[in-house]
């Protein structure tokens, strides 16, 4: 009880300090360093010139670049890589939802014992490293693998279907990697769902499809949104899967950033690209926050009515 003798404000500050310090040390400081690097010119031998004047060169480089003919031209390469990553991540999120929602719905209908077993089964792949799981897909999908072999035996007229080293393979890899992030949040909202509401819907003449669309889906929306964010954010920055399964033919924003810190030895550009990516993620988070506030308001209004 000695704590209560001090002021409540101090108490709060003391109690919050571990969290604040952790956030500061693990997020704010590294981000600050990266922001600082993005404003410096690059050094001759990699790294940056820490003493130099701040400049915005690396941010200009994101959009404008000196062309091979010497004129300054709009540079679409980075924007394209970014757009491609956004589409890929969006597609992955959509596919994860389409596969994940029915699984979560089915799981919530099981007995508690079997539910726990299912949760365990879904998390088991995470005990293995992501890299190894991606290489496993490499073996499954390759030309000599049984999937490609049997597909080609079934459809000989297609003229040799290749499953590997294209966008399809990258999608498979990403969906496989991030599916549990979609299933688990949806499952946790469905688990708490009041099934009497669904029964009421049936009583009021809804068929299964209507009950799903008008009752179950809206009520599980918080889980769906959380799952979508959990899938979208990491797949936007993924660079291992596109490099391994995509055959390295297209550049994702993750590969681009890695390249700047590696072979290109251009830390400032790598940092500014990271900040661009961060900005986009922040925008999507803000949209999510606006949506949830809007949803909460609707809910309140619904309750009052």
């Amino acid at each position: 009880m000695s704590v209560s003798s001090t002021s409540p404000a101090l108490n709060r500050a003391l109690l919050l300090s571990p969290v604040v310090l952790t956030l500061l040390a693990l997020i704010a400081i590294p981000l600050g360093i990266m922001g600082y690097i993005s404003l410096l010119p690059r050094n001759t031998y990699g790294g940056v010139d820490w003493q130099a004047q701040w400049q915005l060169h690396s941010y200009v480089q994101l959009f404008y670049q000196e062309g091979f003919d010497g004129e300054l031209e709009l540079n679409w390469v980075y924007a394209q890589a970014l757009l491609r990553s956004v589409f890929q991540a969006g597609g992955t999120t959509l596919l994860c939802f389409l596969f994940g929602f029915p699984v979560a719905l089915w799981m919530s209908s099981l007995t508690p014992r079997r539910r726990n077993l299912m949760v365990l089964l879904i998390t088991i792949p995470f005990w293995t490293n992501l890299l190894i799981r991606n290489y496993a897909w490499l073996i499954i999908l390759r030309e000599q693998g049984w999937v490609a072999q049997s597909l080609n035996a079934l459809f000989p007229s297609a003229g040799g279907i290749t499953l590997l080293y294209n966008d399809f393979a990258v999608s498979v890899g990403l969906v496989y990697s991030f599916l549990p992030f979609m299933i688990l949040p949806i499952y946790s909202t469905l688990e708490k769902l009041d099934w009497r509401l669904v029964e009421a819907a049936y009583d009021l003449g809804a068929n299964r499809w209507h009950a799903l669309r008008r009752i179950i889906l809206p009520l599980s929306m918080p889980g769906v949104i959380a799952g979508a964010l959990l899938v979208f954010v990491p797949s936007l920055g993924a660079f291992i899967t596109p490099a391994i399964l995509g055959g390295g033919k297209t550049l994702m924003i993750g590969n681009l950033i890695q390249q700047q810190f590696g072979t290109a030895r251009n830390w400032p550009l790598g940092s500014s690209l990271s900040f661009l990516l961060l900005a986009i993620l922040l925008v999507s988070l803000v949209l999510y926050a606006l949506y949830s506030r809007h949803a909460a308001k609707n809910l309140n209004r619904g309750a009052k009515a």
């Binding site: 990699g46 390469v77 000599q144 681009l256 590696g262 072979t263 290109a264 030895r265």
Partner: protein, 350 residues
């Protein structure tokens, strides 16, 4: 592996009670070895441990840039590193290396003449030679029309129709751009944007015919027949040839990049005395040959007589003399050239 090496270390400890202590007895008998992944036979480390009582811990990296970044960040405690020639000047000028004066080591006498005084480290003040190799291309002679390809980069950059979709390039910008530069006969470190434009056009034309860009699994990729032709290193090709005898290596007549890797000691090394013992030991012909025999790259030490017959018959390892003039030692490009290369690569992949 750990248990095995620990047991060896224990027996080494027991042995050391009987053997005379060396002059470096003050240093603990350990060595931290930072090397390219899959670029040193682990068995050879046990031999070293047995002979010198120095226990070695090996760690791996995948590119010179990773090594550079680790050293620049500081705090990395490695005793021996294996930088390529193309990064030696950076390391020396950044003051990251310790002077070891390799010619003063007793086994330096076995180093081959061309490796004694390289431009990237005059007088071998900072380094001793390890392995060298080339980046050409390999193909499966059983699966190409006529069973033979011309010894030109044209086969790779403008592939025949039968090979479309059946070839791969390395996923390393410098390797791909070097090869394209040699084919187009421009300087691989060119700062001229027009050269960059030509290189990009060539690569963009080639890209649709490629199955993939990848620098991993190169041995398996050729041996399993996943591709018919790919840009490849000579040692990797030789190991694939062991599994499938129809695989051939090409030294293109327009020139091909030659890399040379070296032992060096970082300035921050905690055990520089042990590092010198290790580097000296590695220049002994029998030990140098053991590496070449295990991983199929030629070394810079007079050890050719000890080379395994299975490698001796292969052009990829035992390079015919007439190809010597085709080798182009890898260069260290300026920042401006590097930026152009990065733009080529980003546009190519974008």
């Amino acid at each position: 592996m750990k248990i095995k090496s620990m047991r060896l270390a224990m027996s080494g400890l027991a042995l050391s009670c009987f053997t005379a202590m060396s002059a470096h007895a003050a240093e603990p008998k350990v060595l931290f070895f930072y090397n390219w992944t899959d670029y040193y036979p682990v068995e050879l480390l046990s031999k070293f441990e047995k002979e010198t009582d120095i226990k070695v811990t090996m760690d791996g990296y995948d590119s010179n840039e990773t090594l550079l970044a680790k050293l620049q960040a500081g705090g990395a405690a490695y005793d021996v590193i294996v930088p390529s020639q193309s990064i030696m000047q950076t390391l020396i000028k950044q003051n990251l290396l310790m002077e070891i004066d390799a010619p003063s080591l007793s086994n330096f006498q076995y180093v081959k003449e061309p490796f004694r005084d390289p431009v990237f480290d005059p007088g071998r003040k900072f380094s001793a030679p390890y392995l060298w190799g080339t980046t050409g291309f390999s193909y499966d002679s059983a699966r190409v029309p006529g069973g033979k390809l011309d010894d030109s980069w044209k086969e790779f950059f403008e592939p025949r129709k039968e090979l479309h979709g059946q070839l791969a390039a390395l996923d390393t910008s410098s390797s791909v751009i070097n090869a394209a530069s040699h084919y187009l006969n421009v300087d691989e470190c060119s700062e001229n944007p027009q050269d960059a434009k030509r290189i990009l056009e060539l690569l963009q034309k080639q890209k649709p015919f490629l199955k993939m860009y990848s620098s991993d699994n190169t041995v398996d990729r050729m041996a399993s027949g996943e591709v018919i032709m790919m840009q490849n290193w000579n040692g990797s090709t030789a190991r694939a040839t062991l599994q499938k005898s129809t695989i051939k290596y090409v030294y293109p007549r327009e020139g091909l990049a030659m890399f040379q890797d070296n032992f060096a000691v970082p300035k921050s090394a905690p055990h520089p005395g042990n590092a010198r013992i290790f580097i000296d030991w590695m220049m002994k012909p029998e030990n140098a040959a053991a590496v070449s025999n295990a991983i199929a790259y030629a070394n810079g030490v007079q050890s050719d007589a000890l080379l395994d017959p299975k490698w001796k018959v292969m052009d990829a390892i035992n390079m015919p003399d007439e190809y010597a003039s085709r080798l182009r030692p890898e260069k260290e490009c300026s920042n401006k050239a590097r930026e152009l290369q990065d733009r080529i690569w980003s546009k190519l992949k974008g």
